[in-house]
Symmetry: C2
Subunit: 237 residues, 2 copies
């Protein structure tokens, strides 16, 4: 394919593409709930929490509120869900629960795939997560990133072009030397508009068994793979 020679850096969407946020939240909070006396439908809790993510990012992207790191946006959303459901967690409990974004487990293929890719490419998350969150997650889940290309560094959330172009500027590379890898078509579409190469990873259960979005590529992305090991296979062909 020649892509191995044509690309120097691969940046990854993280939540959903590299780590399983929904599965981890359900497992982590179920275990925590048992110990702490909260019996809840944690899948519903995770979905409600996630549902407030795009609106929160939107407020930052439209300039309605100043730049706010994701762990603070998540914390505000968590408190909103807690209030909706009539729950009352202590400050310490909120701190623990919100920290789950640094405890997210990788999909089964992620760690092996990243180690293989790291041999030939600079790799890093281009995630809406802030640097400290991504760093703790990397250490928790053994993700061998070279550098956290966090949206926090560019003070813009994806899919703002400042994020994709920010990586190119940081690396002093033309956009076509950088590849964006994501399980979400909208993210790749925005990256392609900036001139980056694109890799789509199929994650059909990110939102659970009844997922309806991102079940297939909506454009002719440069690579389509069923996991990060599949991306490594494609780039090493």
């Amino acid at each position: 394919m020649g892509l191995r020679q044509d690309v120097d850096v691969i940046v990854f969407d993280t939540f959903g593409t590299v780590v399983d946020w929904r599965g981890t939240i359900i497992r982590d909070f179920s275990a925590w709930g048992k110990k702490n006396g909260f019996e809840l439908d944690w899948a519903d809790f995770a979905d409600r929490w996630r549902a407030d993510y795009d609106p929160q990012k939107g407020r930052v992207r439209r300039g309605e509120i100043p730049w706010t790191p994701l762990d603070e946006l998540n914390r505000q959303s968590l408190i909103k869900v807690m209030t909706q459901l009539g729950l009352s967690f202590s400050e310490q409990q909120i701190h623990y629960l919100n920290g789950v974004w640094s405890r997210l487990d990788p999909w089964a293929d992620s760690v092996e795939g990243l180690y293989r890719l790291k041999k030939d490419f600079v790799i890093g998350p281009l995630s809406n997560g802030n640097v400290a969150m991504l760093l703790r997650m990397a250490r928790h889940s053994n993700l061998p990133w070279d550098h956290m290309f966090s949206c926090e560094i560019y003070r813009h959330y994806k899919p703002d072009p400042e994020t994709y172009l920010g990586v190119c500027e940081t690396m002093r590379l033309a956009p076509e030397r950088v590849m964006m890898c994501a399980a979400h078509n909208y993210d790749l579409s925005a990256a392609r508009k900036c001139g980056l190469k694109t890799a789509f990873i199929l994650r059909p259960t990110e939102y659970g068994e009844n997922q309806t979005t991102d079940l297939e590529p909506t454009e002719d992305w440069d690579v389509v793979a069923s996991g990060i090991t599949g991306l490594a296979d494609a780039l090493h062909e």
Copy 2:
């Protein structure tokens, strides 16, 4: 000493503290000169190049020129030295020579020391080098950084307080939870004024055999060690 429990992140000055810039430039350029027909006193060349580093940074720090990444400042200084010495390198040769800052060899203790520290602390360079330069250096010299806390991210050169406080803000940590490690007293002095902990590494030949500066600690730094393995020993006591 209790420091192991009191510190979460250690950031390192890089040029001189982790890698031997002067020795590498002399070795690298001597080999290159032989192949390319340039016979020169490369130690003198390295010293002249380095002598323009502080004035260049100063122009940025005083706002005389806008933020400029270090690889561009270095390139301008390299051309200045070339002109002083009546030399004429091609664009391609200048590109190769300026790239030496990404090929710098670590001191003998650096890699082992960093691997040991990484087990218990988040580690990264807080270097005037830009992210791309530090990333290439890390891959060249096997430096296991968690993240590049480059001054480029904070758009300020050391010893501006925005750099040290920037790391604390990125990590959402109080300054006393962060340690600055450097072979240069001025760097630690500026970090201490911001509230960071400090570690002095003795590098008595950074500037060659006749070095006159930084041969001893000028304040009671939290740790004083003769290498990065020594810092690991001190923190694991």
